[in-house]
Symmetry: C2
Subunit: 197 residues, 2 copies
DNA sequence: TTGTAGGTTGTAACATAGTTATTTCAGGGC
DNA sequence: GCCCTGAAATAACTATGTTACAACCTACAA
């Protein structure tokens, strides 16, 4: 597994990625992936075993983009600000890579279950969130507590809002961005250490 | 549309419901629904138009269960307590009807889009949440603000946690129930009106 | 009672999906 | 030159949503 891909293999992944982005999970068929990459369907099976093997790569690619988005926030010197920007980057990435996000978090490809390797990549993305929590704690801006536990609380909340927005579930006409900020406020409020000056 | 169902129609819905519960969205096929209900596939098409027609009913049934769960909390006299219990009932219902929940919120049936009637039912479930917010405000326990906007913030947060739990995304070994309570704490903290005694 | 219109049913067929079997073929080794 | 091996393409198999079609009811009017 995970051995280097030849040119044809990369072409297949590129084709799959393009299909997923353009038409979502329903347009992602083995035949079309192969056709777009200029080979027969066997090309998929000899290189990736089956369709899930391709999806596994897309799954990881999605998490890599998410990680890049969260790391792209950088380090302003104020961890609290960085955490806020990280939350915003999370949403931005999810909207820009909506079809990826649904494969990653909503099981948009029926029957697909990520491999252990893919799960490890998804955990790495979560780790970025936990790191930010720890930095806020070290700066005295967040209350004490397990950074991973706190990160999970944050993750769940922002994920839920992103998810509802992606599937178009809107109860009110409110701006989703505003609502999202409101939710980030709530998190910040809940985890912030009371200032002592 | 929405006219009364004959016995066969009800049998089809029961069969579909059983299949969804037992095997999830991937086991939900027109042929099996019809076979379990004891008729040919045409029985589905003459009554529901197509597969999505059946799924539409399951979608609404799922929201009806969610509404029943949230209403089952009742009225203890303390809106804040009721809100907490409502949040817990939401999670409990989602776990007990996991396959339904994924059809409702994760688009588990590829290509399915809910009808206007189904969307109305989903909005009704959201309304229950907004009502609880309003009650907390009237009791002076919640800060002022648009109840629907606040309910959407709550909804997103609890939905995200439920969703991550349903698809098995766990970064730590923490108890999901505890994490969920932690998140409910955050919401309560953020929306609670400072006491003035 | 009879005939007709309209809907329902069961069977079979169609298109498309993932996957597998079979054939084809190019490149080396003898 | 002949044969073996491995990969590719073609075709086939199974399952799925859907549709076509003929047979069969079921009203309802004459």
């Amino acid at each position: 597994m995970a051995r280097a891909l030849d040119e044809q293999g990369q072409a297949l992944l590129d084709a799959a990625s393009g299909l997923l982005a353009a038409e979502g999970a329903t347009g992602l068929t083995v035949r079309r992936i192969a056709a777009d990459a200029g080979c027969s369907t066997m090309g998929v099976y000899s290189r990736f075993g089956n369709k899930d093997g391709v999806v596994d790569h897309l799954y990881m690619e999605g998490f890599r983009r998410l990680i890049a988005a969260m790391e792209g926030v950088g380090d302003s010197g104020d961890p609290l600000t960085d955490m806020r920007r990280c939350g915003q980057a999370y949403r931005r990435n999810a909207l820009e890579n909506a079809t990826y996000y649904l494969v990653m978090f909503a099981r948009a490809v029926p029957g697909f279950v990520p491999s252990d390797e893919a799960k490890a990549v998804s955990l790495a993305s979560f780790q970025r969130m936990a790191d930010r929590v720890r930095k806020c704690q070290e700066a005295g801006q967040y209350i004490d507590g397990s950074p991973t536990a706190m990160a999970e609380v944050i993750w769940g909340a922002i994920h839920g809002h992103v998810m509802l927005e992606l599937v178009g579930m809107r109860a009110t006409g409110d701006d989703p961005a505003e609502r999202y900020e409101h939710m980030l406020d709530l998190i910040e409020q809940g985890f912030r250490r009371p200032e002592r000056d």
